[in-house]
Structures are given as structure tokens and as C-alpha cells.
């Protein structure tokens, strides 16, 4: 019997590997609409959608892009994603984007926004300054104003007037998408043998280029197909992978991790699609609702200040929620936010008695055997001793 997910996964793989963004171009031709890119980690895609445009997640060039020009823009000690993104830009692969958003997550992405302003003068370039103060009257008011400014720029670009009703409709679609993604993650954690992580990852990556309605349908189709699989669970170690919220690991690395005897039961890849944890309310003022959702109910990640809870509480919650037996820190080399966060998380895990292992990668790493060996040993030690 052919594997029921093959067709869907293949569709996602084609989208993932297509660095010419054909799907985006086709969407533009089909609808006559415009497209706006955004960098990791999180961007309020609802606004782009409500302005009648396609939000496009840009996560660098991955393992298949040869860097010819990008290296001339960055010193060797800067992570890889900005150079591959510049490569995509200066080689014309991102010409299909009419604008680009740069969320405030680190100094590299921040400065990349300025580089984009200098290199692509005819495009909309916007830095999204997220508040690090989380009360409604202060950080909320500031963020609402940021959103309002962004919406005006997007509206001007698409020439679509965004009414509150229109925005509410977009929010509802993204709420639905987040719900189905939450289900995807829950299903993987419950039956990892039916939802291999590299497949889940490809399905998630498809959210970067597909219209939200199509992506929601795709996840549902995938879940239905995966449920039909008749597979027995293996005696793998259940792990949470963390640290890769921006520059993504190559697919082969994800596969190596799984092949080494790990079931990944939670991760922080393509985090923007899961950044908001609950539904955004469909209230009278949708901008305030989006701001409130940002202030309150989100994941904890290195680029976000967390004044309320102890560092690592979110990770430990995830370990408990998904029944993980260990944590794999897997972060891009030279990524200050992830690598400075790591010792704090390590301390929290040590206190909680959760085993862990760490390694760094680059999006274009082609040597996986070291990682595989390391996570394999880690998985074995969990299975044998219950601790690394």
C-alpha cells in the first residue's frame, strides 16, 4: 500500500525546495494581489492578509542555496541566515515580494532591515518593534500604534481599505490555522510513529508560502492521512528540541536526529505560526485584540523578555505536557539570543532533573554524522539510565 501522506509531503517538499517562490508568483498572477515577506520569528500575518496580500515567511536559503554574493555582506562570525537572505534578495529571487517585514528579534535582523532599506529602495521595508513591556496601557498602547502604522502602510501598498470586519475575518482564519497546527503538534506527541518530524516540519514550512486557508486544509488532510498509517511505536527517546526559532536546521539534520533514535515531541521551528497560543479575540477593535494576544498568551522564546515567570518554565512545561524524556539544544552557530539563553535553560533543566544535550549547526551544514552520533548516544543513555 502506498503511504497515505506521500502526496502531501511531496507537495510540501517541492514548496520548501523552491527558492524561486513559484507558488507566490502563481498566487500573484491568479489573484492580481501583492505579497509581503517577513523574517522570523513572528509577524502579525493577519494584517497582511486583511490588506488583500499574501504573507510570505522567509527563513533564509537553507541547505540548497549556493552563497555567491551573500558572503560579501557579512563577516564570518555572523550567523548564516542573513547572508542567505541577502543572497535571495540580490539574485532577484525575492523580486516577487512587494515588501519585507523585519521583526525585532536580534541585532542581526534589526540591522538587516537597514540593509534592506539601502538595497531595495523601491520596496516597502518595515522594522516591527515589539514591546518588551507587557502591560496594556504601556507596551500594549505602543504596539497597537505600531500595528496601526503597519496596517496603513500595507493598505497603501495594496490599495485595499481594511475595515475592522475584514481584519476580524483574517484573524478568524489564522485562529483556525493555529488550532489545526496545535492539533498537529499534539498528534505528533501522542503518536510520533505516525507523524515523523521531518514531515511535520515540511507541513509547517508550507505555511510560509501558502494562503492561510489552503494551509489549514493541507494540515487537516495531512492529519487525516497520517491517522491511516499502521505503524508500531519504536522504543525511541522522546525529546523536545529548542533553540532554532530563527535560522532553521537543514532537513537532513532533522532526519538524522530522528534516525538516531529520538522522537521529537516539541520544537520551536517555524515558531511564528505557533507564537500566539490561544485564539485572538474577535472584539470591536481587532488591533487591540492582536496587541493583547501578543502581550499575554504566547510562547516564551529568547527574543522575548519574560518578567513574570522563571526562566525555563515554558520549556519545562513543554517537557511535561508532551511527556518528553530529554531536551536537545539545537541552535545556529553565532546566534546570540539562542546561545545566551541556553545556559539559563540548562540550569532550569538541571534543577528539574531533565537530561539534555547541545549542539550548534548552520542552515547549510552538510555533515550530520557527528550530530547523529551525539543524539544517538543521548537517546541511548535516556533509554538505559533514564538520564544523560
Amino acid at each position: 500500500m502506498t503511504d497515505p501522506t506521500t502526496e502531501i509531503v511531496e507537495q510540501c517538499r517541492v514548496l520548501y525546495e523552491d527558492l524561486s517562490f513559484t507558488a507566490v508568483k502563481q498566487w500573484k498572477e491568479r489573484t492580481g494581489g501583492r505579497a509581503v515577506g517577513f523574517m522570523p520569528v513572528y509577524a502579525p500575518r493577519e494584517l497582511i492578509h486583511a490588506a488583500g496580500m499574501l504573507p510570505v515567511g522567509i527563513m533564509g536559503g537553507g541547505e540548497n542555496l549556493e552563497i555567491i554574493k551573500g558572503d560579501a555582506y557579512f563577516q564570518s562570525y555572523i550567523c548564516h541566515i542573513p547572508r542567505s537572505t541577502i543572497e535571495l534578495g540580490v539574485t532577484g529571487r525575492l523580486d516577487c515580494l512587494d515588501g519585507m517585514l523585519f521583526p525585532a528579534i536580534c541585532d542581526v535582523i534589526r540591522n538587516l532591515s537597514g540593509m534592506w532599506q539601502m538595497l531595495f529602495k523601491d520596496k516597502l521595508v518595515r522594522y516591527l518593534d515589539f514591546p518588551q513591556e507587557f502591560t496594556a496601557g504601556i507596551g500594549g498602547a505602543f504596539y497597537r500604534h505600531e500595528l496601526e502604522g503597519l496596517l496603513q502602510q500595507l493598505s497603501a501598498l495594496s490599495k485595499v481599505t481594511v475595515t475592522p470586519e475584514r481584519l476580524r475575518q483574517s484573524i478568524a482564519l489564522y485562529n483556525e490555522n493555529r488550532r489545526v497546527i496545535a492539533k498537529l503538534y499534539d498528534t505528533r506527541a501522542k503518536t510520533p510513529e505516525k507523524v515523523p518530524t521531518y514531515e511535520l516540519y515540511l507541513v509547517m514550512r508550507a505555511s510560509n508560502v501558502l494562503p492561510v486557508e489552503e494551509h489549514t486544509a493541507l494540515v487537516e488532510r495531512y492529519l487525516a492521512a497520517a491517522a491511516k498509517r499502521d505503524r508500531k511505536p519504536l522504543d525511541n527517546a522522546r525529546v523536545v528540541v529548542t533553540g532554532a526559532f530563527c535560522e532553521q536546521p537543514p532537513i537532513a539534520l532533522i532526519r538524522a536526529l530522528e534516525a538516531s533514535g529520538c522522537y521529537v515531541v516539541d520544537d520551536d521551528w517555524v515558531l511564528g505560526a505557533r507564537y500566539l497560543l490561544g485564539d485572538v479575540k474577535l472584539g470591536d477593535d481587532p488591533l487591540t485584540e492582536l496587541a493583547n494576544a501578543y502581550l499575554g498568551d504566547t510562547v516564551e522564546t529568547a527574543s522575548r523578555y519574560e518578567p513574570r515567570r522563571k526562566k525555563g518554565a515554558f520549556l519545562i512545561d513543554s517537557v511535561k505536557k508532551y511527556g518528553a524524556e530529554g531536551v536537545v539544544f539545537c541552535a545556529p552557530s553565532f546566534c546570540d539570543p539562542a546561545l545566551l539563553e541556553r545556559p539559563m535553560l540548562v540550569e532550569a533543566l538541571n534543577k528539574a532533573g531533565v537530561p539534555h544535550t547541545s549542539f550548534n549547526y548552520a542552515e547549510n551544514t552538510s555533515q550530520y554524522h557527528v550530530f547523529k552520533e551525539q543524539t544517538g548516544t543521548f537517546a541511548d543513555s535516556i533509554k538505559l539510565w533514564g538520564a544523560a
Binding site: 560579501a72 555582506y73 557579512f74 563577516q75 562570525y77 555572523i78 542573513p82 525585532a104 528579534i105 536580534c106 541585532d107 542581526v108 534589526r110 540591522n111 538587516l112 532591515s113 537597514g114 540593509m115 532599506q117 539601502m118 538595497l119 518595515r126 522594522y127 518593534d129 514591546p131 518588551q132 513591556e133 496601557g137 504601556i138 507596551g139 498602547a141 505602543f142 500604534h145 529568547a302 527574543s303 523578555y305 518578567p307 526562566k311 552557530s333 553565532f334 546566534c335 546570540d336 539570543p337 546561545l339 545566551l340 539563553e341 541556553r342 545556559p343 539559563m344 540548562v346 540550569e347 550548534n360
Partner: protein
């Protein structure tokens, strides 16, 4: 210089004696610091970047960095953070050999650098003390909007000041703050005059290597104090006197620096081999007539002054106006303008491995500045406080070729 040494020694004495005096220390970062506000509550400011750079100048940072790496910190991240953590783990002995007090508060002025946030999150875990965050929006479009100002002022009023009141046990005294801001503005006037002096040929100052001494008091614990005012008055008089006499800057070995090339420098200096690094410039007759590092704590030449009439608004503008809080096009504009204003022959980028805030994008900036000004840029790489990343031979070679190129062009 002596005056500055005395000020620093006095401050560290006070910090060392807090156990006896009951005074409390507030750790905070240099760019966009709220020094006057901290003093207005009679709290003692401590700047961990300054401790790190002082450790480097005393050749201790290498050990501190290794200590932090042994404790699990990555080789890839900012070495200021690692030097600070290593110093703390080795007993928190400050630059004057005295023990630093633990912070009663970490005032996280989140200006111009994301690493600051991680740094104080790490310290919070170590000291288990309160943190207050002041989130300073970035000048992404090259300007400060009224909403940005409002956001910072609100945080000051509703978050930062109440926390300082709680820690110090004192009420916010706006008149006291105003008096300090007026004093800051007077020092700022004098500092601008010092920078301006470098427009003369030959320049009486080196505005990068010498410049780091000139910014010491005003960017750190002393802005707003009487000693600071008197330091800048004296400095200005000295520099103006040298200018009148047509003298060049003084080098560390006491000789006068002969001016052959006038340069603008982008990026922080290396601290572990500071003198050796400086010598590579003055030995070739290169004088730095302006620099961007000396603007991390404010761009006063563009007219900003702390303003006693609008105390919190001006603190907000100060925080947002720091060099690294400006977008890349604004940084290019600034360097191009410095090259013109100071009649520089070229510019050098010292790209710092630790510092993404400065370094990411510098190569494009360089191209753009060359295009705009027609002056050649030189490019070198080093680190702030990690001696492993200062390759003297390499840097010297690069600089020599760069100077040869300038020579050929002139």
C-alpha cells in the same frame, strides 16, 4: 586624565564600602543610561561594560572569558557578557582591585543592543535580584516619533521611577533631577567643543583612542555631577589651548602625534591590546579625527542636550538617540558627514566579533560610504575583550596596506 582617575577611584571606593555605608548599587548599561535619575535617588550606578573593558586593559578578561566558557557559555557570543560573568564567578573584584557590591537592582535600559537583555537575564539568575526593564524603541526610520517618546516616558513614570523609589526608599525629586540634567547639558556643551577641535589641521586630539578617555565620565557614572562638569571644562580648555598652539594629540608614550592621515573610525576599539593597537595608527601618522564609538552614549553634536525643562522627555530622547539605536542608513549618513566635516582622508572599520549590534551590516555600510564620499575604507577585525581575537600581525598588515593606498591616492 588625573582628574578622571581620581573620579573613578572615588566611585569605586564608594562602591567597595556599601556594606558599611548602606548605599545601594544599581547595575545598568552605558548606551542610553539614566545616570542622572539613578543619582537622583542617591543610588550608585555600576556599568558592567566598563568593568569588562577595564578588565581587558588589565589583561584579566581572557581568564574571565574562559571561566564563563567553562561554565557553559558559548564561544560564539558577546565577550563583554562572558568577561562580566567570569569576573563575578571569580569574586567580583572590580577594576581598582576592590570587591564590587551585588546589585540591588538591574536597570535594563534596552538601548541599541539585544544582548543587553540576555546579559541581565543571566545576572538575574546569578544574583537573584529584581530587574526593571526600560524598553527603548529603535529608530528604524531614522527618527523619533511622538509615540516612541510617549512609550519611553510612560515606562519611566509608571515602571522605572516607582521601582527606584522602592529600592532606594526615597521619593522621586524632580527638582534634584532637573539640576543634574542642567549640569549634564553644560558638560555636553564642552564635549562638543572638544570634538569640534578636531576639525582643525592638525587635530589637537585623537578622537577615537584619545576619545575613549574623553567620553569616560560623561557616558558613565558621572554625568550630571559637579566633578564631571569640572572635568569637561578643564578638558575643553586644554584642548583649545593645544589647538591654538597648533599641536597634535599626545600619544601614550608622551610624544606628539604627527598628522599624516586624518581618519574616521567606525566600531569599538580592542581593549586587550589597546596601546599596541593605537600605536599601529600613530606610528604611521594616522590621527582619528572622529569616530562612531564615542557616540554610543549620545550624539551631542547634532544638538541633543539633556533638558531640565523636560526632564523625562529628554531622558527618553537621550536613550533613543544613541548611535547603535539608529538605523544603518542613519549611521552611513553620520559617518559620511563626519568624513566631510572633519576633512578626513579615509575611514577605518574595526569590526568586532562580539558585537552584532555594531558589526552586522558594516560591509554594506562601507561600500555605501565609499560611494558617497569617494574616500577609501579600511577594514580590520578584532574583539573587545577576548585576547584570542586580536591578531596583531594581521591587523598591522592590513593597516599598512591601507595607509599605502591612502598615500598613493594623495
Amino acid at each position: 586624565m588625573l582628574l578622571q582617575k581620581k573620579m573613578i577611584a572615588g566611585h569605586f571606593d564608594r562602591l567597595a564600602n556599601t556594606a558599611k555605608t548602606g548605599e545601594k548599587a544599581v547595575y545598568t548599561f552605558v548606551p542610553g543610561n539614566l545616570n542622572e535619575l539613578i543619582w537622583a535617588f542617591d543610588l550608585l550606578p555600576v556599568h558592567p561594560e566598563i568593568n569588562a573593558l577595564q578588565s581587558a586593559m588589565r589583561k584579566q578578561s581572557g581568564d574571565y572569558v574562559l571561566e564563563a566558557e567553562k561554565a557553559g557559555h558559548s564561544e560564539d557570543v558577546c565577550t563583554y557578557v562572558k568577561s562580566d560573568i567570569g569576573m563575578m564567578r571569580k569574586g567580583n573584584i572590580g577594576p581598582t582591585g576592590q570587591r564590587l557590591p551585588e546589585p540591588s537592582l538591574l536597570l535594563l535600559s534596552y538601548t541599541g543592543c539585544f544582548t543587553f537583555m540576555k546579559w541581565f537575564e543571566l545576572l538575574k539568575q546569578e544574583y537573584n535580584c529584581p530587574v526593571v526593564m526600560l524598553h527603548v524603541p529603535y529608530q528604524a526610520d531614522g527618527r523619533i516619533t511622538p509615540e516612541m517618546r510617549k512609550y519611553v516616558v510612560k515606562q519611566l513614570k509608571e515602571v522605572v521611577i516607582p521601582k527606584l523609589e522602592e529600592i532606594s526608599g526615597k521619593k522621586y525629586d524632580e527638582d534634584k533631577l532637573r539640576a543634574m540634567l542642567a549640569s549634564s547639558a553644560r558638560s555636553e556643551d564642552d564635549l562638543v567643543a572638544v570634538w569640534d577641535a578636531a576639525k582643525q589641521k592638525p587635530s589637537p586630539i585623537d578622537a577615537y583612542f584619545g576619545g575613549v578617555y574623553y567620553i569616560g565620565p560623561i557616558f558613565t557614572a558621572f554625568r550630571g555631577t559637579k566633578e564631571c562638569e569640572s572635568y569637561y571644562r578643564t578638558l575643553r580648555a586644554e584642548v583649545e589651548q593645544r589647538a591654538k598652539q597648533g599641536l597634535g594629540p599626545v600619544t601614550p608614550d608622551g610624544k606628539v602625534h604627527q598628522e599624516k592621515y586624518r581618519l574616521v573610525v567606525e566600531g569599538p576599539p580592542n581593549w586587550t591590546s589597546f596601546r599596541e593597537f593605537w600605536e599601529m595608527f600613530y606610528a604611521e601618522g594616522a590621527v582619528c579625527v572622529s569616530s562612531t564609538y564615542t557616540r554610543v552614549g549620545g550624539l551631542y553634536e547634532q544638538g541633543f542636550r539633556h533638558d531640565p525643562e523636560h526632564p523625562l522627555e529628554s531622558l527618553a530622547d537621550y536613550c533613543m538617540g544613541c548611535y547603535t539605536n539608529r538605523n544603518l542608513p542613519s549611521r552611513v549618513d553620520l559617518i559620511a558627514k563626519q568624513i566631510e566635516d572633519f576633512q578626513a582622508d579615509g575611514f577605518v572599520v574595526n569590526s568586532i566579533k562580539s558585537c552584532n549590534s555594531f558589526s552586522a551590516g558594516q560591509l554594506l555600510m562601507m561600500k555605501e560610504i565609499e560611494k558617497r564620499t569617494g574616500r577609501a575604507g579600511g577594514f580590520i577585525e578584532s574583539d573587545l575583550v577576548d585576547p584570542r581575537y586580536f591578531s596583531a600581525a594581521n591587523i598591522k598588515n592590513r593597516l599598512e596596506s591601507y595607509f599605502q593606498m591612502l598615500e598613493a591616492r594623495s
